[in-house]
Subunit: 220 residues, 2 copies
């Protein structure tokens, strides 16, 4: 709550929006209880206690006994910043509702399942830096999202590989809930999260927007 | 966003906190992918577009084609209103962090699964009235939550049947994320949601707090 943030009111994240990752997980999804891959976007929230900003330290998480956890991971996504009240907008009009684009980081515990939502792993205090700025992009569906840790590239994901486009997601989500100015949608994290360690310097970059830089805290 | 609400910053709901319901669902949970019932509280959020208040109309939901849905249901829970910044509080101190108690309504689409989170069904605009007031309760674990529709009692649930107590939940959630003053936790909905129809007048009551009254909108 104390960190200034670009986000107003809601930060919605889209999971499993990497076409290749979905293909890789097909066998899991074809098992019980679903017996088929998701037919609609899979969404999760990063609540207000997670919101943070460029330059902030990301606390190393503690377990229920108060001991530092063994592992944390980071994902990066293009963030769509909503510019006006948006309810049931079509794909064709979807980009007209956008104020601009930013970078969203999602620090979390490694996922152990693709079913029951991992509220604990996704809701760590300060785990969702957003920024550094809001920019205009002419082609949001062809950006490259790059994750570097201590200066070394760990992951590079091109939005041409999204299962659903930015326009499709804005439209679909606006049919599920009304969106308000300043709300942010993280439209697609690269398939695999990158592991991080205490003290790591993490850079999440999207050309045309900039680089969101955060440092992991020490093991408390 | 336009409705005044008691909620500040976050409304967290606890699912599957009815000991009897969990027992009834045991066979489902013992199947893939978990092969066991949940070992930690199952949480979901009602985001800001859902927040509403006593007396407000609850819109009848539309499907993706813009047609009124066939069915909606309502659940009711005791709402814990947090009174101070709360991080990793013990069960013994948990009630000291509480500013008071209120009633939380949760209008939604009927649930079709206990696995993948039903963001669509749970995030309808204006579907989470909270109120009518914040009261003190000396024994929050023995309240009765009553749902009445058009003057007829549909459900009565005593908190003695909670799987986890109010104190346990506050403590557990505060280990997952830092809580802030004015945030609300809906600690336990009665096992079965009650069906509602367009135009219904719904009363959600907890003795010692009062009655949260809302009316369902017409089929648009």
């Amino acid at each position: 709550m104390s960190e200034p943030t670009l986000v107003k009111s809601k930060l919605i994240c889209v999971a499993l929006n990497d076409a290749e990752q979905l293909k890789r997980l097909e066998a899991i999804f074809n098992d019980a209880p679903y017996k088929k891959p998701p037919t609609e976007p899979v969404l999760y929230y990063k609540p207000r206690n997670t919101w943070s900003q460029d330059g902030a330290e990301v606390e190393w998480a503690l377990d229920f006994e108060g001991k530092p956890v063994d592992a944390m991971v980071v994902g990066a996504s293009l963030g769509v910043v909503i510019g006006r009240e948006t309810c049931r907008v079509s794909e064709i009009e979807a980009l007209e509702t956008v104020a601009g684009f930013t970078v969203v980081g999602d620090y979390s515990l490694p996922e152990t399942t693709y079913f029951r939502p991992d509220i604990r792993g996704k809701c760590l205090d300060g785990s969702a830096p957003v920024g550094p700025v809001v920019s205009q992009l002419s082609a949001p569906n062809s950006v490259e999202v790059v994750i570097s840790v201590n200066g070394e590239e760990q992951s590079r994901f091109n939005y041409a590989n999204l299962e659903r486009s930015v326009e499709t997601l804005i439209s679909k989500i606006s049919y599920i809930m009304t969106l308000q100015p300043g709300e942010v949608i993280a439209v697609g994290f690269a398939g695999d999260r990158s592991p991080v360690a205490p003290g790591d310097r993490v850079e999440l970059s999207i050309e045309g927007i900039g680089t969101l830089v955060n440092t992991l805290g020490a093991k408390a």
